[in-house]
Structures are given as C-alpha cells and as structure tokens.
Symmetry: C2
Subunit: 562 residues, 2 copies
Amino acid sequence: MTEVPAGEYAGMGGRALTSSLVAKEVPPLCHPLGAENKLVIAPGLLSGTIAAMSGRLSIGAKSPLTGGIKEANSGGQPAQVLARLGYSAIVLEGKPENDDLYRIYINKDGVKITRDNSLRMLPNYDLAEKMKADYGDKVAMISIGPAGEMKMAAASIACTDMEFRPTRHAGRGGLGAVMGSKGIKVIILDDTGMKMREPKDPEKFKDANKKFVDGLRKHPVTGQGLPAYGTNILTNILNEAGGYPTYNFKQGRYDQAHKISGETQAETETARGGLATHGCHRGCVIRCSGIYHDKDGHFLSKQPEYETVWAHGGNCGICDLDAIAKLDFLDDNYGLDTIEMGVALGIAMDAGILRCGDAEGAIKLIHEVGQGTPLGRIIGSGAAVTGRVFGVERVPVVKNQALPAYDPRTVKGIGVTYATSTMGADHTAGYAVATNILKVGGNVDPLKPEGQIELSRNLQIATAAVDSTGMCLFIAFALLDQPDTFQALIDLINAFHGLNMTGDDVAALGKSVLKTERDFNARAGFSKADDRLPRFFTTDPVPPHNITFGITDEELDKVFDW
Amino acid sequence: MTEVPAGEYAGMGGRALTSSLVAKEVPPLCHPLGAENKLVIAPGLLSGTIAAMSGRLSIGAKSPLTGGIKEANSGGQPAQVLARLGYSAIVLEGKPENDDLYRIYINKDGVKITRDNSLRMLPNYDLAEKMKADYGDKVAMISIGPAGEMKMAAASIACTDMEFRPTRHAGRGGLGAVMGSKGIKVIILDDTGMKMREPKDPEKFKDANKKFVDGLRKHPVTGQGLPAYGTNILTNILNEAGGYPTYNFKQGRYDQAHKISGETQAETETARGGLATHGCHRGCVIRCSGIYHDKDGHFLSKQPEYETVWAHGGNCGICDLDAIAKLDFLDDNYGLDTIEMGVALGIAMDAGILRCGDAEGAIKLIHEVGQGTPLGRIIGSGAAVTGRVFGVERVPVVKNQALPAYDPRTVKGIGVTYATSTMGADHTAGYAVATNILKVGGNVDPLKPEGQIELSRNLQIATAAVDSTGMCLFIAFALLDQPDTFQALIDLINAFHGLNMTGDDVAALGKSVLKTERDFNARAGFSKADDRLPRFFTTDPVPPHNITFGITDEELDKVFDW
C-alpha cells in the first residue's frame, strides 16, 4: 500500500480514479498476477456523504480475465466507510515474497497490516463470522474467498452489506485473483469516531439531495419496479421480448421463465419471511435487493440479481429458484462472479460435463470450483477457458468476458455495448436495454440496427461518468427521463466539492475515462478485432425472431468517434 | 473436401499455398473449430520428385492455440506420396452435422470417404496397426490421436515414417484439433501405380540435385553433426552457451544435461540395437533421426528430437532418457505437440501439481491428457491455458504458443523470432540459433542486441520460402554457408517447373508469404503488443549470464520493415 501523491489524481473518484491510476502506473503488458499490477479500491466523489445512492465502490486493475483494464464496482457498505475515513483510494501494489496471507485493518488511527494464515481458504461467509468476532458488525469488509486465493480469473471481491454479509461483489474481470496475488485476504474498514463528510455548501447539498431522491421515487423503474421485484423483474420482460438467452444462447425465450421470474421470487421471499424490498447499503432509496429464505425460513442468500438468476437459470435450463439461490450463495461464499459462473456452466453443459438443467450437478460443480479440483479450476477460469478446454464452439464472450443476460441479436443496442466496451462484455457499461426494451430515455427498436451505435455511445459515456461519482447506476433510469433529476445530481457534486460543473462537463468526464481506458487496452494489445461479438452471433439466427446481430464492423468502429 | 479451382493458387506449394488459401478463404474471426475454418494439407513445390530432402508436408489453418494463421510442417512419407498422386493440396472444410468419425482413402482412382466410428479414440500407433491390416505398410498415413478428437489446442497431426510409424508430426498450433473438428480421423495415401513426378528439364534437374546433395554432405552440420547425433546434439551446445532453459525458464544451464545429451542418446541407441542415424522419409540424405530402444532392446520411440528432450528434460528437471523417450512416445501416440506438453508440464510443476523432476508423475499426466480427464484437458490445452488455470505467473508463451528450447535472453536472435513470428513462439520460423550459436551464416553475438533484428528478419524471409518448397529446413545450414548449394536449390525448382527464378525471387516469395500471414493475423486481432515476449524476460535476469532480453519494443517493430 502506498500513499497516492496529493494532487496527481486530485478531484477524481470511483472509476475515473481507478482507471487513471491503472493506465498511468501499470505496464499494460505486465502479468495481471505479477508484482507490477496494482489493485485500486476507490469510493466515488459523493461516497461517505448523506447523498442517496452514493455507496458504490470502484475497484480497478489490469484484468486477469480480459488482459485489459478493468473497473468493477460493488454496492454494500465499504465505499461509504472508506470515504468517511478520508481515503480517496487504497492501492495494493507489489507482491509478497511467499504465500502468506494478510489482513488489513483501517480505522481513524491509520492502517494495520497483519500476517494471518489462519484465514486461508475461508469462504466469505465464514470469514465474515470470524471478523465479526474480532471487530463487531459495525465495520465494513472487503474480502476474497478461496477463488481469489487460488487466483482464478472469475474470482470476485466481496463487500459486506448492512447485515455484515458478503453479498455484494465487484464481480467481473477476476479482480479477486489480483487481490489474491497480493496476499490480501481481507480489508476491514472501521469508521468509528469519524463523521459524515461535510459538503462545501451544506444547504445547497441538502436541497439537491431532496430533489434527487424525489426524482428517483417518482420514476416507475426506480420508484416502483425495482423496489417491488428487484432486478429480476427483467426475466419476464426480456423473455417476452425474445431476448432472454436460453440454453447457452441457443434461443431467446425460455418456456419455464415464469418459475424464476422476479414476481415469483418476490412472492416466495415474502411467503417465507424473507424480504422482497431491501437496500444493499445505508443511504439507498431504491432498495432493489432482498433476502431469500429457504423452505424452512432460514437465510439462503441475498435476493439473487436478474443476471445471476438468468446465468444459472434459463442459460442452464434450471428453473428452480431454490437451487439458483443456493448457487448464488455458493458463488458469493467462494468469491466468484455469478455471470461468469453461469455462462461457464452452460458451456460445460454443451460439452457434456453435466446435463442441461441439472441443478444438483451445477451445485456440485460450483463446490468443485471452491475446492479447486482440476474441473473446478477450469470453470473458475471463466467461460472462455472452459470453452477452450472442452473444445466447445459456442462460447459467448467478448474480450474473454462472458456475456450477460440479454441476447445481442434481439437487443442490438446492448450488443454494441458488449462488443465495444473497454471492459469486455458488460451490460453495465452502457445499458442500452433501458432504451431498447424499457423505453427509458427514448425508444430505439431493439430488433433493428438503426440508432444502436449512438445509443450505446451515449450510454457508455454517461456510465463512465456515473461510475466516477460513486452513485448506483440505477439512478440512470431517472436521469435519462428527468432533466431535473440529472441536474440535481450535478448540483450534489457542485455543492459538495464547490464546483461549477455542467452537463457538458459530465459528458467530458465520461469521454475522458473511456479514452484513458481504450488507450490502455490498445497498449495491452487490443485492436478493432477485439471490439467484436463472437462469430456465431453473425452466423446463427436466434429464435423466436430468427435474426442475427446485423450491425457491421464498420458501424461498431464508429462507437468511439465522437 | 473441395477441388481448388485451377489457377487460383497455381505455382504455389507448401506454406505459400496453405497460408494463401487460409488468408483468402477463412474469416479471420471465425472459431477455429467451426465450419468456416479450413484445414489445408499441401506438399511442397519439389515433393514427389527425386530431389533430396523434399518430403515436408505443410498443414495450415486458423490455429486453435494462437487464434492466428498457422502453418506447421512435418517430415515422414505423406508429402511425397500426396504429390505423386497429383494433389497440390487437400482442403478439409465445413463440419459434419454430428460426431461421426471418418477415414479418407486416396489412390490413383480418386478419393473415398468412409464413416468409421470404430476408430474412435484410437492412439496413433494402434491406428497405424489397424490401417496396416487394411492397406499394408506401403501407404502413407496422416492422422490424429485422441487429443485431436477431443479438440485439444495442443493436438498434433501425425505423419507416418518409412516404417509406417506415426512418429513425425505437424506439431504446433493445435492443427490436430481442427482435423478433429472436421471429423476426419485418418487420411491414407496410396500411390501404387503412380510414378515419380517428372521435371520439365530432367538433365538439369538431376545435375542440380547432385550438387545440392554434395553441398549438404560437405557441411559440418548436415554432413556430420546431425547424422551422428541428431538434433539433440544441441543439448550440450546450448547448455554450454547458458541458453538452455531449465526449470521452466528459471536458469540457462542444467547441471544434469550430460545425461540427456545427443552424445549420450546416440550411445544408448547404438548399445541397445536401435539406430542413431536414420531418415524420416525416403530421399533424406541428412538422416538426423534414429530409433530408441528400451533396456530390453524393444522399440520405445523414434529418437526424440532436441526440443522434445529439452521440453520434458531440462525444462522439467528430468534427466532420464528412457522416461523422456516414453514421454515422446506418449505424445506421438495421443497426438500431442511435444514442446507444448513439456512447457505445460513445467508450468504444472511450478503450480505444485507435480514435483519438479518427477518423471513418473509426468508420464501419468500425459496419460491423463490422452484420456481427457479434467487435469489432462488443462495440460492438453497447452502452456498458456495451464498457466491461466493454475494462476501461474511465469508462462513462457508468445501468441499463446509455448517457447521452444532456447532462452531468448541468452540467444537474443531467436528471441526476436519468438516475439515477432506470425506463428507464435517458433524456433523454426527464423532459426537465429544457427548464427548466434552455431556460427552458421555469419556470427552474431547471442548476448548482445546488435544485429539480431536483421538476422531474424532475413531468416524469417528465407524460412517462409524454404517452407514453400517442401524442403526440410535443415538444408538451410548448407544454404547459409554455401552459395553454390543455395543456387542448386534454385536450379532444382527452375528445372522442375521450367522457371527462371533468381535468389531475389526466393526472397520475394518469402516476403510475400509473411505479408499474407501478417495481414491475416491483423484481421484476427493481433497488434504490435502481440509481437512481444512475456514480461518476465524483461524483468528477470537469467543465470549464468544474468541478463534480460534487452531488445526494445521499437526495435521489434522494425522486423517487418524491409
């Protein structure tokens, strides 16, 4: 850990900070697990304040999965606590000489690093119990499970939620493996004695926050859909649209989708004494999360997200919500990206390793990942390696990262984002589903190529900016439809930092972040050919619409011409 | 299989033909195991004639290992037989609808394709026995073992030698997996009733061949060193030079090298009733191969090549020639690239999967590859995947292909070839070891950066041309030192085809092949960053000379500026 020189990255937060630091200080051709890589953990510009939704933590490094730059962000408590402790970022660099494991404790008095091999191979939930015994449950925890210790390319970094459960993850790109390569098992953040961060203009800040919250509450997505059913509200919507990738992207509609929909999930949660509406961090007003109990009313997992339900559900032909919640728990516990795991499982099913729809087999396989058996290590290396090792042709990845829960042939805008994002296939990098399917921020026909490039471009720019604020991306639904709510966000930043940013400045920030990331990726070896979907999306039409992707390479190359 | 339109590739042979066809007809972003890839099997311009050394077979496709264009060539009988049958190339394209296996039989009457699932998972030696029963041992066989059927990225394509043993392999780049993806297990070539190919000018041809053979016989490498000790003569030489990669490239000298040297090997072969001097195909006058018997005087394997002995030997800390010959046999039998296997084993040793130097463990592991256990599939996917799956940092690959038996820090010229070759790390693509170490074709100090770019460039150009003739690359030793022998080769081509080529035309051919290949690779996504050695060659000095690679990226980028 080093102290970042004051000034060099001044005024940056979240993704802007992680990407700038990685792009400047990490040799683009270094080994992601080597001493030259750096893991940057940064709260956002508004984290640690009373601003609603400001609890996202950005984590960046050169990715062991994609080989390019990576920023993955997570909800949960750590961003707020870290920001209140006064840190703009934690930077883990170098590499210990041997295989020892360390814990880091940060409080108002400073940083304490302790060798602690007793933590070895502890799953995240067990680790949380152990930490709770040492520090109580008012602290926040950032940690890796066995997958990160084993340096698997699908390993996540876990963040604890309000119940001190390790349920929120910086999932994508294998950042858990980078943390593992540094020998850091867990970081405990304790803000006892610290106060809420103070804005430069408290009155203006408070006023802006009120307008901001009002905007979120009155938008149908953030005010009604997400609170009631969580992200899994999307299952029925995408399935209806024919854009729900089923059986490893062989079709766009799943006849068992109703069994695993958000509506069914919320009903099940409520009936069993769980929670269908719950926040993942203090200060959340959308509360799209929840708590999923088993048949006997005991905690099974947090409410699995839409992408998780899809990855292990329709993608694998599994229509049992309890099995999916169990898989979600195991992924969280071993410290694994649920999207990468589900897609790898779907490929393993294509390879004949387990039967399509075999929930018990899938659970057994995720246990193998956590235990590091050879087969488990294959799956834990992600979808691309799984496809390669088993000689499977249908491997839905971009830049080696597994595609999320929207078929790019049917929802073409998100296909453009998958193909061109600096992050590899990533729905959160420019969520064109909003405009293609939910009709938020306009209406661009998901089935036609027209308008998708511009849509994805604008969303990628806006997202890069939002990811730098520490704000949850879900605020974007309201921002896209309500100019006043967008202005309220800008007012929040200006009031807090004493700035005079405009909407144009926000766009400029987003463009600057993307440019920095693309420059790193080019130096790491990415070319135009990496901004493409796998070939089968061009050659194989997907039912029920029976269409291919249909956006040309030349068009894709225009995404970053602004 | 299709008939290539007459004229389109007229006048091309070997690598010029395979690379031109792949570059023109294979979509660079297709999946290597998909229907769009094509496997091109082409004898050289002089194959099937009485010209000495003309028995190399070029096999090309988009590589499942590197993702780029690939030409791997092999000795053995098939090139001569295929050329005498009148074929410029066999092109396997498309993909069968199901998993059936096929055998192909080609004789003077045409081509017969037969479904034959009884061949499934037969190792190459067993397959040869079965084919011998059907066709006798005067035919030539091109085949894949279980590794190719399982579509492993390290799978080779085997060619039979003069004893109808599957000992010669187009080893590199996983072409066996492409053949497997086409469902083709074996191709039998029967030239019964066909004559030697007739030159346009028989007298001039005969005369040129005599001069050519005389040149080879009088050069110390091709006339003495290689016949007496085979390629493994290099062990002592490279070890002495400090360029013998030991323990997965941790040091450049192996204290047990004398136990596995070419001298020890030849002595062992002779004492046990094997052969220390033997050709791999009819028409060979160098005869660098041999036959290795076990302690009881029974055939164990053909004489393992230097790279094979190194990969399983010094690279893995194994100093038992019998164990190495057994590993060589297993690689040939399962159909695996010996370099890729040895390097993957070295990485597995670094990962703690087996102890460094554990010969029995290595043998067991190669059996696992042949059986397709999960661990076997990891190793069978090659060095890069093995490193990734086990989170190992020291992974000696370029473009995902394992480095051969010369440390690029100590033998810098070959390092330039590894980094920049269109093929991934490949010593045969521009064998700078000749000039760096053997002082053939001049003398460029292996330890200094000066002159290495030009050396590698010139050798890569010359090699691309030689690979198009069907000539064994070992003729290059004599060509580099003897202008008369180089002229004799040109005379052979001119006399046979009725041409008036000059030395400049040969260079132009080589450049044209390289340009075609680099263009394909660029379209497949390769950039400058792919023309680099792994980072540890820059950061970690290698004993005994304690130097790093030391050739800058800017210099590497000049290799193809001619």
